[in-house]
């Protein structure tokens, strides 16, 4: 099914190290940029929630040594493209921001374990914030193709930072932007919104990413209402392949704390087991 640059004695790579041409790399608002790369399989086979590990170019005095993990914002097999939505925060993402069409970016992926939709779920609630909006976006099409109804609560500081709303709407989701600027993103108010959806029977599962406070909220609501969920987590990564054990986080499994690798066991984990911090 997948082909790779490293095809070797019949070996088929599930993930590959690839030098992909940049199609575009434009700002979407004051904080985020949208990077589009030309790609084939296995990159375009990335599932919702899987990530790529990007070898960000040096720029100015920045010489990022490690790769940087980025969620697949979109993997489009037909168009032969993979896309990322990223926030410029430090050395690596500053380097990403310098890419122009025609440059090549070395990526490794797809990596990690993505979101899973249980066939028993008829509707889900997606709650994201910040970078989490990029990570959750592919759920829009995944759910649509599985006939699952989506309510997307998209939290941001201000209206221009509410990303992926059109994409969720296009996939048939009902979208609630909630904002710091008008107070609607307050956890208490978001909690009421989610509880309302639960009462309406529109929450067979919760999906969240991008905020510790929202994780804590969804965990609590899930526990109260007996609703399962998934959360995509972040942690600094070196290898991205489960080899170095730098990306561990603590999880709570049957009352015990266990340590798991975000890159390998995740980045998507059961909401029940995730520990907010």
């Amino acid at each position: 099914m997948s082909t790779t640059a490293l095809a070797d004695r019949g070996y088929q790579a599930e993930a590959a190290e690839l030098e992909l041409p940049v199609v575009s790399n434009l700002p979407v608002n004051g904080e985020y940029r949208h990077l589009v790369l030309e790609a084939g399989a296995p990159a375009t086979l990335a599932e919702a929630g899987q990530f790529f590990h990007l070898l960000c170019p040096a720029s100015g005095a920045d010489r990022p040594f490690f790769r940087r993990p980025m969620s697949t914002y979109r993997a489009d097999r037909a168009a032969g493209r993979i896309e990322f939505l990223y926030k410029v925060t430090g050395a690596g993402t500053r380097g990403l921001a310098t890419l122009v069409p025609g440059d090549r970016l070395n990526v490794v992926g797809p990596l990690g374990t993505g979101f899973r939709l249980d066939p028993a779920w008829a509707s889900i609630v997606v709650l994201g914030r910040g970078v989490g909006l990029a990570t959750l976006a592919p759920l829009a099409e995944l759910a649509a193709s599985a006939g699952v109804r989506v309510t997307a609560i998209l939290s941001a500081r201000s209206p221009d930072l509410v990303m992926s709303a059109d994409r969720f709407r296009a996939a048939g989701a009902e979208v609630f932007p909630v904002l710091d600027s008008d107070g609607s993103s307050d956890p208490g108010r978001v909690g009421k919104l989610v509880s309302g959806l639960v009462r309406l029977g529109r929450a067979d599962a919760f999906f969240t990413c991008g905020s510790n406070r929202l994780l804590a909220l969804m965990k609590r609501l899930g526990r109260e209402h007996g609703i399962p969920g998934q959360v995509a987590l972040e942690q600094q990564m070196a290898c991205g392949l489960g080899m170095c054990f730098c990306c561990v986080r603590a999880f709570e499994v049957e009352g015990r704390h266990v340590s798991r690798r975000v890159c390998w066991d995740g980045p998507v984990f059961p909401l029940e087991e995730a520990v907010s911090w």
């Binding site: 004695r9 790579a13 993930a15 040594f65 490690f66 392949l241 170095c244 986080r249």
Partner: protein, 313 residues
């Protein structure tokens, strides 16, 4: 056709390139065909399950990295039940890295991992020795000899001693390992180092200090390999900052019989296979039939005179 095979004690490897302990796991099979490697070397295990160190466990450090992963270990039983069988599905020999805080515990663990499917034991003697005031065994020839002797008696498997660079005289330690019965020395583990974030005033590692690896350490570890190769008769396996085939050639010339690639696999998961391809290409280009002919071939006499000296510099 270049003959890439090398012998490390009783073991013949199809090529001299293998991963470094702690930088390799089953996950790499997603990206490269594991059958191409000269050997597998697993993450160090200890007898008892352990949690490892607080995060952040890694930091960038110029042209290298710091890590304070520690040895988070599931213990021996899951290792024997899951890890060993996984690698049995592949051709290259499996080298199991073990560690312990005392010579006794080392010997017990060596016996426990002497099972079918394990081709050699790499003793990571760079960890603190509880009997010697927390100093790593491999910091001194005496403690090195003591633990290697016990290991030698505990297992018939080929025994590699992995040395620490955090010592004043690595060659003396290598000699001690050889005399105590090691079949090879691996030179070396990471160099103790640290960095501090000048904005937050905090160490970049949760553990304050950690090990430096990657290209930054190459000239230091290369020197140690050169010193050890001249000091011992057993093979030296070079490990430190190897990212390219040229780096591997440099280590072979300095006297390494094989090399381990660590940090480079984090940056390029295809590093191991591209080092192997590049080694073959280098030998072919230079008309070298056997990669083993490179071992220790560094040229040391005065520079030859000749037409090249015509230029002004």
């Amino acid at each position: 056709m270049v003959d890439l095979s090398v012998r490390i004690g009783g073991l013949t490897l199809a090529n001299p390139v293998m991963p470094a302990s702690g930088t390799f796991a089953e996950g790499l099979a997603r990206v490269i065909p594991l059958d191409r490697l000269g050997a597998f070397v697993t993450k160090t295990i200890m007898r008892e399950p352990r949690a490892g160190n607080p995060v952040p466990r890694v930091a960038e450090a110029g042209d290298g990295m710091l890590n304070s992963i520690g040895i988070p270990s599931k213990g021996v039983a899951p290792f024997l039940a899951e890890t060993v069988p996984f690698y049995r599905g592949y051709g290259p020999p499996l080298v199991v890295s073990i560690s312990a805080h005392s010579a006794d515990e080392f010997a017990v663990l060596a016996r426990e991992v002497t099972v079918e499917g394990v081709a050699a034991i790499e003793a990571n003697i760079s960890c603190p020795n509880i009997e010697a005031d927390g100093r790593a065994f491999a910091m001194e020839p005496g403690t090195t000899a003591a633990v290697v002797e016990r290991l030698r008696a505990a297992t018939p498997l080929p025994l590699w001693a992995k040395l620490t660079p955090n010592t004043g005289d690595v060659a003396a330690v290598a000699r001690a390992a050889e005399a105590a019965g090691a079949d090879a020395v691996v030179v070396a583990n990471t160099i103790l180092a640290m960095s501090i974030n000048v904005e937050s005033f905090r160490p970049t590692l949760g553990n304050v200090m950690g090990g430096l690896s990657g290209p930054a350490v190459k000239p230091i570890i290369l020197r140690m390999v050169y010193q050890c190769a001249r000091a011992v008769g057993i093979p030296v396996i070079g490990c430190g900052g190897i990212s390219t085939a040229d780096d591997a050639v440099e280590y072979l010339l300095a006297g390494a019989s094989a090399v381990q690639v660590g940090t480079a696999s984090f940056i390029h998961p295809t590093a191991l296979t591209s080092v192997i391809d590049g080694l073959e290409g280098f030998c072919a280009r230079r008309g070298i039939d056997r990669v083993a002919d490179l071992v220790g071939a560094v040229a040391e006499g005065p520079v030859a005179e000749g037409p090249a000296a015509e230029v002004a510099w």
